[in-house]
């Protein structure tokens, strides 16, 4: 690694479809710009490391989410609504040429973005590490700071 290379450290804490985008968009772009990049996945962010991504999006608790038509909150809680919103969001993204999360993650990996999974969260939720993609490392807060302490940009997402 070049010593004058800039560094970007990201903490990914959220596991919904919409919030899964910023870490991978920023990491893959930073890598393309020459940044050495690392993402530390903790709590719900670990869902972004599953081999099979099954992320959902919901308008519940998210009143700013644009909807094709107004739906009363009580209706939004009905069974099947979350799956419907997720499917609509994915269709919309595809039609606008927005990459899938899988693709952005793959591009990040290709660009040598280092991914670290929070060991404590893995233990806490009893995740099976076989469900996670290959090539990730497991570590804790001190591991994160080893890289973040040297970073030029540090983001909590």
């Amino acid at each position: 690694m070049m010593s004058d290379e800039k560094k970007l450290a990201i903490i990914a804490t959220k596991g919904s479809l919409d919030w899964g985008y910023p870490p991978f968009i920023l990491a893959s772009t930073a890598a393309a710009l020459g940044y050495e990049t690392q993402i530390f996945f903790t709590f719900y962010g670990l869902a972004l490391l599953k081999k099979k991504l099954d992320l959902q999006v919901t308008s519940l608790g998210n009143p700013a989410m644009p909807m094709p038509m107004p739906v009363p909150v009580i209706m939004q809680t009905l069974p099947g609504m979350q799956a419907m919103m997720t499917s609509m969001m994915k269709k919309k993204m595809k039609s606008k040429g927005v990459a899938s999360l899988e693709e952005l993650r793959e591009l990040s990996i290709e660009a040598e973005v280092k991914m670290v999974a929070c060991q404590m969260t893995v233990d806490l939720f009893e995740f099976d590490t076989k469900e996670f993609i290959d090539g990730i490392e497991y570590g804790g807060a001190a591991t994160f700071f080893e890289f973040a302490g040297e970073s030029d940009i540090c983001l909590y997402i």
């Binding site: 968009i25 893959s28 772009t29 393309a32 710009l33 020459g34 606008k96 040429g97 927005v98 990459a99 952005l104 591009l107 290709e110 660009a111």
Partner: protein
Amino acid sequence: MPDFAKELDASGLNCPLPILRAKKTLNGMESGQILRIIATDPGSVKDFDAFANQTGNELLESTEEGGKYVFFIKRK
């Protein structure tokens, strides 16, 4: 219009894909070679300028042709 060694059609792709594809294509090219990129994402105009400024690959030309944005980038 500069002579170019390679062309990348990023039409229909949205941020950050045009940049990522361009970077990948440039990686496979030799220093001094020119890449022509076609994109439809209006944000790509500013983004390719920023990409060039940060990576040292030179943006030789940035134009719009009938709703399409065309960029010429010289590999560092």
